[in-house]
Subunit: 249 residues, 2 copies
């Protein structure tokens, strides 16, 4: 499982390049409308770093998913089972005995990505004799912080990394620095508190990169407009942000 960074081909690590050149088959999971841009970026990474001429790219169709389930966790669990059912035969079919394949993961495999748990499920099921290693990658959170030239934490402080869904339930009490991922909308608008700065970024590290920052009450309209405009134009969006509560006391 190879983390390839947040979009900038230069995020790729030496370890990932070595892994890319070790595998015979690269499994890539086809996704929705973002496909075209990400396929282009992925191809750029492969063309640039893979020197062995004989590798193959195998596309695996992704399983269908209910985006507005009543029970989010149960739906994601079931979705992973459906994904494993599609991936397992692809692995069996495309890899020879003792062969080595790679799964490319945008960002870092340890952060809000299901690839690891799907592979683990296949391993545990035992129909494929499977072992795997994980190669960490630069996450969009790190790319965001680097571009804004900020640390995620303040002195001695805690950082919460959470989802749009959870943020909608309220701003965390136990951390003054909150990173929000998987936000399908603009949940920061629902944060009623004043005294919060936002550091927002979309497509960070790519040519389409957008960065905005400021006091939340002052820039949230602008972020929402920019986000909507670019999402419409490109057909998909990938954004992340840090909410930073002003010093208390």
């Amino acid at each position: 499982m190879i983390g390839i960074g947040a979009g900038d081909p230069e995020h790729v690590t030496v370890q990932a390049i070595r892994a890319l050149n070790h595998v015979e088959v690269l499994f890539v999971v086809s996704k929705g409308p973002e496909k075209k841009d990400l396929v282009r970026l992925r191809r750029e990474i492969c063309d640039r770093y893979i020197e062995r001429p004989d590798y193959r790219i195998v596309e695996i169709p992704d399983a269908a998913r209910d985006r507005r389930p009543r029970d989010y966790r149960a739906e994601v669990d079931a979705w992973r089972v459906r994904r494993a059912a599609l991936w397992e035969p692809a692995i069996l079919e495309e890899l020879r005995d003792g062969g080595c394949g790679g799964f490319l993961v945008w960002g870092d495999p340890s952060l809000y990505d299901g690839t690891l748990s799907v592979l683990e499920q296949i391993r545990v099921a035992g129909n494929v004799e499977l072992d795997y290693e994980v190669v960490p990658g630069i996450s969009s959170v790190q790319a965001l912080a680097a571009k804004h030239r900020i640390a995620l934490n303040r002195i001695g402080g805690a950082i919460q990394i959470t989802t749009g869904r959870r943020l909608a339930e309220g701003f965390p009490e136990e951390a003054d620095d909150v990173v929000v991922m998987l936000d399908g909308g603009c949940t920061f608008r629902e944060v009623a508190l004043s005294g919060i700065d936002i550091y927002w970024g979309a497509y960070v590290g790519t040519d389409d990169e957008l960065l905005l920052a400021g006091e939340l009450s002052e820039v949230s309209d602008e972020i929402e407009r920019a986000r909507e405009e670019v999402r419409r134009r490109k057909g998909w969006i990938m954004d992340t942000y840090l909410l930073r509560r002003h010093e208390r006391g």
Copy 2:
């Protein structure tokens, strides 16, 4: 500011390699007993990736620091001022007008590292006309997760990244997955709750790497022993861990 990863020279990104080859001077901040090992690792990274023959390494002495202050934040603030006072003349002296220097940062510059804020302080002070970019790096947290082959979050869950100091005040309520950094001791021993798994690692990514995992109550003695033994032998330790609360309900 160049993040160079958690210790494995292969964590270095293509972006970092480009930056390493762009700078004329590499500023490195000398630290305490860890010096020997880290200097060796750093030299390995420079030798391996820097192709320009004319770069210089300049060591900056680090400022003294009270490790057991009454007011932690005030002391770190003051320490940063002392660091800026040592770094600023080094930059003025070693860099020509229009020159470019690099600061190497272990892990990722956005995560519990003060380099960024010291440079920003120097920039704001205005005695050096200074601009800088940040190159993200693989953090020890990501390296830890990759080696244990785990995601940091669970489905839809939040992650808290915190310090040993804060963990001593209690296990967070708002996240079931808690990453602990900067723990000078074994603060996980003070977590009274049962039903917690720990994924621990020291020197992750280096030849000295140690990994241990299991139910906290069952492995905490073993981790403490291993940690103490290796800390004594090497004279310093760099460890991180994830505490994972069992599913509730």
